[in-house]
């Protein structure tokens, strides 16, 4: 008897639950796709009921909308909720639909001249207070800007310094100095800006005479000017100690069509021999140069890592840190052996090289 009543109770409970859920369940052939971050639902089922409705589909549309909305609401109510100021708030996930941006991605700006220097030296900005005590006026004033603390152009009495002309206007001199400082600041800002833009368009940068070109720009401009003659720079004179520019000249050299017959025969026979031989040929020079270049790259990467680690430890230089003001043998190209290095390099696979050069390998630049 009791067993039966327990079963009956369970069955009744199930039926009750089914009834409760009946009000919110919707039957669909294909499940909807939900993007809850956008409160979006996509129904892929073909709308057969609507097709039957024909011209006035309003009621059918509303029924379809009600079903779809019910499903979406069911999904939304299953999200994790919390109570925020007497309102039940659901935590939405990230939107899944990918939509195009309205503006392109911001490009990283290149560092200014000061920022590069500070990064190299490990200088960090020091936090400064907003207001400074001004003795003259006896109040706290801002550090710079309108009515700043120590404004030397606003003084009402200036002593003529010892070696100066007594008829000179000292007030005008101070104003002039301030104007020059402002102009210099503006110039540097524009130069930083131009450098940042030059990084983005490096083609025609230094070719127009502005008066503020740096050394490489001037060199490039001079080369371009030399080549812009009718005979493409062949008869241009050079200064006594001026070197020929690198990188100009023919990029590929071809042998003349008929010349040295013996050398041609030798080359062809050598080619046939190499093609016929079963063993692969090893070009010792190429192999050793490749090996040396790889070792150089590894050593450079390790040095950079060490210098980065050194920077992280509060700006002090680590053992392998790059120093611009260091001994002059460090910068520039390395010629010949490596005995000229001042700081001890971490000896990795290149440890054996410290004595001399590789046997049989030429150091090609």
């Amino acid at each position: 008897m009791e067993g039966q009543s327990v079963e009956e109770l369970l069955a009744k409970a199930e039926r009750d639950e089914a009834e409760k859920l009946q009000r919110i369940t919707v039957h669909k052939e294909l499940e909807l796709e939900f993007d809850l971050g956008n409160l979006l639902a996509s129904d892929r089922n073909p709308p057969t009921a609507l097709r039957r409705a024909g011209s006035a589909p309003e009621a059918e549309l509303r029924a379809l909308a009600r079903d779809n909305t019910q499903l979406l609401i069911n999904q939304l109510w299953q999200l994790p909720t919390e109570r925020v100021e007497e309102a039940l708030v659901a935590h939405l996930p990230e939107p899944a639909t990918r939509l195009p941006r309205e503006k392109p991605l911001p490009r990283p700006r290149p560092l200014t001249r000061w920022q590069q220097f500070a990064r190299l030296k490990g200088i960090r900005p020091r936090k400064k207070t907003n207001l400074v005590w001004d003795e003259v006026s006896g109040q706290w004033r801002r550090r710079w800007g309108y009515q700043r603390a120590r404004d030397d152009t606003k003084e009402w009495l200036i002593e003529v310094p010892g070696g100066a002309d007594p008829l000179e206007d000292q007030f005008a001199k101070r104003l002039q100095a301030k104007k020059e400082r402002v102009a210099k600041n503006e110039l540097n800002r524009l130069r930083n800006l131009a450098r940042a833009h030059k990084m983005q368009l490096p083609s025609a940068a230094g070719l127009h005479p502005t008066g503020h070109q740096d050394r490489d720009e001037l060199g490039r401009a001079m080369q371009v000017a030399k080549v812009s003659t009718a005979s493409v720079g062949r008869f241009q004179e050079r200064l006594p100690k001026e070197k020929a520019p690198r990188g100009s000249g023919k990029k590929r050299k071809f042998q003349p069509l008929f010349g040295d017959f013996a050398a041609e025969k030798k080359n062809q026979l050598e080619l046939l021999r190499v093609m016929n031989s079963k063993k692969p040929q090893l070009d010792v020079t190429k192999a050793t140069n490749k090996q040396m270049r790889e070792e150089d790259q590894e050593a450079a990467a390790r040095r950079r890592k060490m210098s980065q680690k050194g920077k992280r430890k509060g700006g002090r230089q680590g053992p392998g840190g790059k120093r611009k003001g260091g001994p002059p043998s460090q910068g520039g190209k390395r010629k010949g052996g490596l005995g000229g290095k001042a700081n001890p390099r971490p000896s990795g696979p290149g440890g054996k090289r410290k004595g001399g050069q590789h046997p049989g390998g030429k150091r090609r630049k």
Binding site: D16, E19, K20, L21, R23, I24, G37, N38, L39, L40, A41, S42, D43, R44, N45, P46, P47, L50, R51, P57, L61, R62, L64, A65, R66, N68, T69, Q70, L72, I73, N74, L76, W77, T81, V84, A87, L88, V89, A90, H91, L92, P95, T97, R98, L99, P100, R101, E102, K103, P104, L105, P106, R109, L190, L193, A196
Partner: protein
């Protein structure tokens, strides 16, 4: 370009804030829509634009005057408007004999037209014609797309993407469940798109989730796709590019087995087991006397070999 990177720097903080709002950012602002009337817009089209503006308030601009342009021929004036008002979505309404009740809906990328789709309005019931209560402006709508035609052709897929982009509203992390007010329902059937908007009524059901009843509230449009001007694939891909900072970060070296236990992986270098630091047992420590006898044992062996 930053506000500070311009040749002429902004002189006031207000100007600086204005420029900073408009510059490209990692996570972008909410897209604004501009609603423009063409040179020959009739009453229907004007009313449609006003209704859509009501739906899109406050993220929209409705231009009152008529502008004589043709979006499909010349996009420069649209781009100029977009730059001036910083709007990346637009809707342009016009009417002529060849294309009656025309509505061009589109979006911009970097102030240039990305996608444009021309829709014809066949039937229109306005907000004022349906006499019941409306929902407050600025609420985030729910969007539902029904019909399998939305995934068949590229045109319809882009149209779906464009409609989501247009009507989406701000992206929020949390939403008040009682504040879900209205739903926009798009059905694609026989080449027509039925756009209906309903107000949501939450009724009691036995369990926690409420039963939904809908009441027709807002503008209802029957649309037909006319011309399209879609962006080329690579421009579209460029516009979809997500910055690396916003991509979800992968958690490496963590795995879970079927029972739910989380495993982590640690990578170690090779250890020299002879130099391993174990617990020190003072009793087993070698006393100096023992060490000397060991050495003496080793040494005679060497002398013998010599």
């Amino acid at each position: 370009m930053d506000a500070l990177d311009r040749v002429v720097k902004p002189k006031t903080k207000r100007a600086k804030r204005f420029l900073e709002k408009r510059e490209p950012k990692l996570s972008e602002n909410i897209k604004n829509a501009m609603l423009i009337k063409g040179g020959n817009a009739n009453l229907t089209v004007t009313q449609v634009l006003r209704d859509v503006y009501a739906l899109k308030k406050p993220y929209g601009v409705l231009y009152k005057k008529k502008n004589i342009t043709r979006p499909f021929e010349d996009q420069t004036s649209l781009e100029f408007f977009s730059k001036k008002s910083d709007c990346s979505l637009f809707m342009f309404g016009s009417h002529n004999k060849k294309r009656p009740n025309n509505l061009v809906i589109g979006r911009m990328y970097d102030y240039h037209v990305l996608d444009m789709i021309e829709l014809g309005i066949e039937k229109f019931v306005s907000l004022k014609d349906i006499k019941n209560s409306k929902c407050p402006e600025g609420t985030k709508p729910m969007l539902i797309f029904a019909g399998d035609e939305f995934d068949v052709t590229e045109d319809y897929r882009r149209l779906k993407n464009l409609l989501i982009d247009f009507f989406r509203g701000p992206t929020v992390p949390n939403i008040r469940l009682a504040g879900l007010d209205y739903v926009l329902h798009f059905t694609a059937l026989n080449g027509k798109i039925y756009f209906r908007s309903y107000k949501l009524l939450l009724k009691k059901s036995g369990c926690r989730t409420p039963r939904i009843e809908l009441e027709e509230m807002g503008p209802s449009l029957d649309l037909v796709v006319r011309r399209t001007h879609l962006a080329s694939d690579d421009l579209y891909k460029l516009s979809m590019k997500m910055p690396k900072a916003l991509k979800p970060k992968k958690r490496k070296n963590i795995s879970q087995d079927t029972f739910g236990t989380t495993y982590g992986r640690i990578h170690m270098q090779k250890q020299d087991l002879s130099k391993l630091q174990t617990r020190k047992m003072k009793g087993l420590k070698k006393r100096p006397a023992e060490r000397i006898t060991e050495d003496q044992e080793n040494k005679p062996k060497r002398i013998k070999n010599n």
